[in-house]
């Protein structure tokens, strides 16, 4: 079994509003999966269905080889986008309470809590009330509560919103370490850079439909247009440009460079190879810069969403 979670043909209506339309998503074990989409696309509904907070109208979810069961909440750690804690309850007390709701015994919960508090430098917070903590500190507590019961599947809805850069980095590293220890991670976000940085797989949801999904690298490969950014030093720019225009599709390019270059982008036909282009260019000018343009997740996102709009 390579997939931790398989969601098959999930649909959900709220009255007249379709939140999810026949969405299927597969999350491989041990991966970091990015669920992308603009606000209101249906990401949160999908996550709530996995958490059994909302029941789908049709479709089914298979977790770890068997259909979702009420007890499966123990296998999942969920950090919602709308998150908070009891303001007037002590940190330790409510962490214990929430861990025990996830099925841990009091002793286990205490042990885990001590481990995490030590690890993240939170010892001494035990008897503090949430209202005495800063927002960043409270978020750290929420993170610990999410991972406390060592779930197989961790779901983070916009995990980095509200964190300062230092703490965001700490949390990011903890997430990566949890992945290395065998957890599978589902990110829901509309911030592309974190997907770019962390995710192995991704799916894009827009207006309740899944538009694309797969390995991030594969998707990028599919979306690249065989375009290269080139920086050249040449005596007669116009002569070269005329020659190039006849052979290739040429565009303007913008990149940083320390030499006073001619900056252009060249799009090849599918049958043409980068090596041939490079050889050709070397024969004509001095090549200072030669980079294949790989679409960013952001580009793919915008492209896909506008194409389907």
């Amino acid at each position: 079994m390579d997939n931790l979670l398989v969601a098959e043909n999930i649909s959900k209506q709220f009255g007249d509003f379709t939140a999810l339309n026949n969405v299927s998503i597969t999350i491989p074990k041990g991966s970091i999966f990015g669920l992308l989409g603009p606000n209101g696309a249906g990401k949160t509904t999908f996550i709530r269905i996995i958490n059994q907070i909302t029941m789908p109208d049709s479709g089914r979810v298979i977790l770890d080889g068997s259909p979702l069961h009420p007890d499966d909440v123990r296998k999942i750690g969920y950090l919602p986008e709308e998150r908070g804690l009891y303001k007037s309850m002590k940190v330790g007390e409510q962490a214990l309470y929430l861990a025990r709701l996830k099925g841990l015994s009091k002793a286990e919960a205490k042990e885990q809590l001590n481990y995490w508090f030590n690890k993240l430098g939170m010892t001494g917070w035990w008897d503090k009330k949430i209202q005495e903590l800063s927002k960043g500190m409270a978020q750290k507590v929420q993170f610990v509560i999410t991972v406390l019961h060592r779930p197989k599947l961790l779901i983070f809805d916009e995990p980095f919103s509200g964190f300062d850069p230092v703490n965001a980095d700490i949390i990011k590293n903890e997430i990566l370490q949890l992945r290395d220890e065998g957890a599978t991670i589902l990110f829901s976000t509309h911030r592309m850079e974190s997907v770019e940085e962390l995710c192995d797989y991704m799916a894009l949801i827009h207006e309740s439909n899944k538009l694309l999904d797969g390995k991030v690298d594969d998707i990028k490969r599919n979306y690249k247009s065989n375009t290269f950014e080139v920086g050249l030093t040449v005596v007669d720019e116009n002569l070269l440009m005329n020659e190039l225009n006849g052979k290739f599709k040429i565009g303007k390019a913008n990149f940083k460079s320390i030499t006073d270059d001619l900056k252009i982008s060249i799009q090849l036909k599918p049958e043409e190879s980068a090596n041939d282009l490079l050889q050709y260019l070397i024969s004509k000018a001095q090549v200072n810069h030669f980079v294949e343009v790989i679409p960013s997740v952001n580009d793919i996102f915008i492209k896909t969403v506008t194409k389907n709009a």
Binding site: F14, G15, R48, N51, Q52, I53, P70, V73, I76, Y78, L79, P80, E82, R83, G84, L85, Y86, K87, S88, M89, Y97, L98, R100, L101, K102, Q142, I145
Partner: protein, 432 residues
């Protein structure tokens, strides 16, 4: 089950540890006892004020008719003129002068008695004076028409109707008051409990919503479980508070009464030997009456209606809490709670006491939203078992239905932020 226990435990502690809760728990009995003492003190002040009334009797008929009472003193100023009497009364700061002119006929006299005073006297005093006049003038009239007064006096009879039910149990008029007291107290208690602790349930739902912790919790437990846990935990906290109130109030009241020297419990001093005997009989009858009440039925049905009624309303309170974002938004949804509660109390205190088995009382003791209060008030008067059964079955089925509906609204509502819902929207949520 394990989670439900955890939730109940947390809710209970959260309520009990709340500062306002602690303060109210220990302050309320103090306030109550303080009020009782204040009222007792004020009324003792009131009775200790003695009114002195001068009598200017020109007719010489009422010389010894006015007897001093605890609060009234009469002074005979018949020898002098009315003007002198007025001056004297003003000087001595008496309450007023009662002027009785000399008239030929009783009827004329009855119309021309005057009271002069700085301010109008208390109603009680006037009634007392009027009673004396009526007695005296009636007697005089009777005599003048040739009736023998002594015969009338010896013919006077006091009637006290004995009441017995068909099973042959003797009851007294007291027993009706006892029944009213038991029923009324139970109904009123239930209403207060529902309002106080139902509100607490609602507030705690809103708190979880505004804290944004709700989604974290319901990713671990079912919303229904959370709602039930809240209702149960809060009601346990309520019972704790009630128990403390009863104990504390009892102790404080005993202490206060024995220290203040106010003899609330002892019989009035005018009770003589014979009265004592009568009183003893009354008390014995009272005990018999209380034991004759359907105590078993009363207790069991009290529990059933208390739990049933509380659950019914708490579920509605919880649903309201889930539907709104803040307490200020709850007003529009309060009518379905307050209206039936008030209706129950009004029907109870007017209709049931008037006629416990009339159609109004019977109908309202069947309707589930009012039945807990109205039926509790009816039970001491004896309710046929089949009526009880129908009412309880209706209550239980409605409870199940309302819990189900409330859970649906709750489930959707706790995840909705930002907009004030309307009844229409709540209806839509039921279908999600």
């Amino acid at each position: 089950m394990r989670n439900l226990k955890l939730i109940i435990h947390r809710e209970y502690l959260a309520r009990v540890r709340n500062k306002t809760f602690v303060v109210m728990t220990f302050l309320s009995p103090l306030i109550l006892v303080g009020m009782v003492l204040l009222v007792a003190y004020l009324s003792s002040l009131n009775t200790s004020a003695i009114h002195t009334i001068a009598i200017n009797d020109q007719s010489n008929l009422f010389e010894n008719e006015f007897e001093d009472t605890e609060t009234l003193r009469f002074i005979n100023l018949s020898g002098i003129s009315l003007e002198d009497a007025k001056l004297l009364v003003e000087e001595k700061e008496y309450s007023g002068v009662l002027f009785i002119p000399e008239k030929d006929s009783n009827s004329e006299l009855a119309k021309s008695v005057m009271f002069y005073g700085k301010e109008s006297p208390p109603l009680g005093i006037l009634q007392e004076i009027e009673r004396v006049f009526t007695d005296k003038l009636t007697k005089r009239e009777l005599i003048s028409r040739g009736v023998d007064i002594s015969k009338i006096e010896s013919a006077e009879t006091r009637v006290s109707i004995q009441i017995q039910n068909f099973e042959g149990q003797r009851t007294s008029k007291m027993s009706n008051y006892i029944k009213m007291f038991f029923g009324g107290a139970a109904g009123y208690l239930l209403m207060m409990f529902i309002i106080i602790y139902g509100n607490m349930v609602m507030r705690s739902v809103i708190e979880e919503k505004t804290n944004r912790i709700i989604e974290i919790i319901i990713s671990s437990v079912k919303p229904m479980q959370l709602m039930l846990g809240k209702i149960l935990g809060t009601s346990l906290a309520g019972l704790t508070q009630f128990a403390i109130w009863v104990v504390l109030g009892g102790i404080l009241l005993t202490v206060a009464v024995s220290f203040s020297g106010l003899n609330l419990a002892s019989p009035p001093p005018m009770a003589q030997e014979g009265m004592d005997q009568m009183l003893n009989n009354e008390i014995q009858q009272l005990i018999v009456d209380v034991t004759n009440l359907p105590l078993g039925t009363l207790l069991i049905s009290f529990l059933i209606y208390f739990i049933g009624g509380y659950f019914l309303y708490s579920a509605i309170y919880a649903a309201i809490g889930a539907a709104v974002d803040s307490e200020t938004d709850t007003q529009q949804f309060m009518i379905p709670i307050i209206l039936p509660l008030m209706l129950g109390i009004y029907v109870g205190f007017f209709s049931v006491i008037e006629n416990p088995h009339g159609s109004v009382s019977t109908i309202f003791s069947m309707i589930p939203l009012t039945s807990p209060i109205v039926m509790l008030m009816r039970i001491p008067f004896g309710v046929p078992w089949w009526e009880l059964a129908v009412s309880i079955i209706l209550l239980i089925t409605t409870n199940a239905g309302v819990l189900w509906l409330a859970a649906k609204i709750y489930r959707v509502g706790i995840l909705m932020y930002g907009k004030k819902p309307t009844y229409r929207e709540l209806y839509k949520w039921l279908k999600y």
